[in-house]
């Protein structure tokens, strides 16, 4: 089973049970980012996670944005990298840069 589809399976189950759900996807990487383009993180409205978009460095921040997307329904494009102060705070310590797209499952 490919891990992206494992994420989508869980997302489908959450959705079917009536939960609000968002999917975050790594859409661009530069340098030594820990997870390849296409990696996904599913988030439900209680903040439960499945999958990953980094080695655990930025998931916290992505979950916050996912929860906001579940509330307002708007997609979001997030940039994380060492040049970005916020990203440094959330700790993409590997020195790579990633761009993550977050959207609600409607």
């Amino acid at each position: 089973m490919s891990d992206a589809l494992e994420v989508l399976d869980q997302v489908g189950k959450w959705k079917a049970s009536g939960k609000g759900v968002a999917v975050a996807t790594v859409i661009t990487t530069w340098g030594s980012s820990p997870r390849p383009v296409g990696s996904q993180l599913g988030v439900d409205d209680s903040g439960e996670m499945v999958g990953s978009v980094s080695g655990g460095c930025i998931e916290g921040a992505v979950v916050q944005e996912a929860l906001a997307a579940i509330k307002d329904g708007k997609p979001r494009l997030l940039d994380f990298g060492v040049t970005d102060e916020q990203a440094w705070d959330v700790g993409l310590a590997c020195g790579g840069k990633v761009q993550v797209f977050v959207e609600k499952v409607s």
């Binding site: 089973m1 859409i27 661009t28």
Partner: protein, 242 residues
Amino acid sequence: MKSETLAALQEARTKRQAVTLATRLGDGAEGLVYRDSVKGDLAGDAAIVSAARGAMEVGRSETVEIGGQKVFLNVYVPPPRLIIVGAVHIAQSLAPMATMLEFDVTVVDPRGAWATANRFPGVKVIKDWADEAFQEMGLDVSTAVVTLTHDPKLDDPALESALKSDVFYIGALGSRRTHAKRKERLAEVGITDEMFARIHGPVGLNIGAKSPAEIAVSILGQIIEVRARRLEALAAPKAAAA
């Protein structure tokens, strides 16, 4: 992402069908692009559909700019499949390890005493001759075949079928001497030296593996390597052109 899109992606996996999901990042509009059909909001955009098929060819997801808009192309290819011929002791280590590595695993053995669901929890087990089972399953370029029975009656027809397909990996358990004898037998059914050279035998990386679990690691190490080199080679011309 729409719920229908999610359902379509899951359906494609079940059918072992490749699909690219194109998402326009500005507004979240979506298109599902298959090899020979298209659906969704972006289905009418020829440039996006063509880029999505291109990404599918090399099996690589990427963000592209089309008509001044950023579009993310997420390629979902069927997971690699591992078919293990011989429901033997080594298979009992190989099957769960391969599952952990996200292979879609099937064990094939015509012998009822071996091919039981109990011996392989959570793995597909087919009680049939390998060549018949292969015909049913359809061997493709994302499939690896490993024979473990040690019995020419069971291994040889499996190897013969695998060699006549475009599976990305073929491995056969057995010593160098066994492998040499195998070559002679397969020559009699029309397998040329060149074809035979596709078989990794003795199977696995030479890491001094002894126990069934160690042998499983050596086999999977080799499969991972062969697959990664192949994907690198596919992506290389594109990287050079970019």
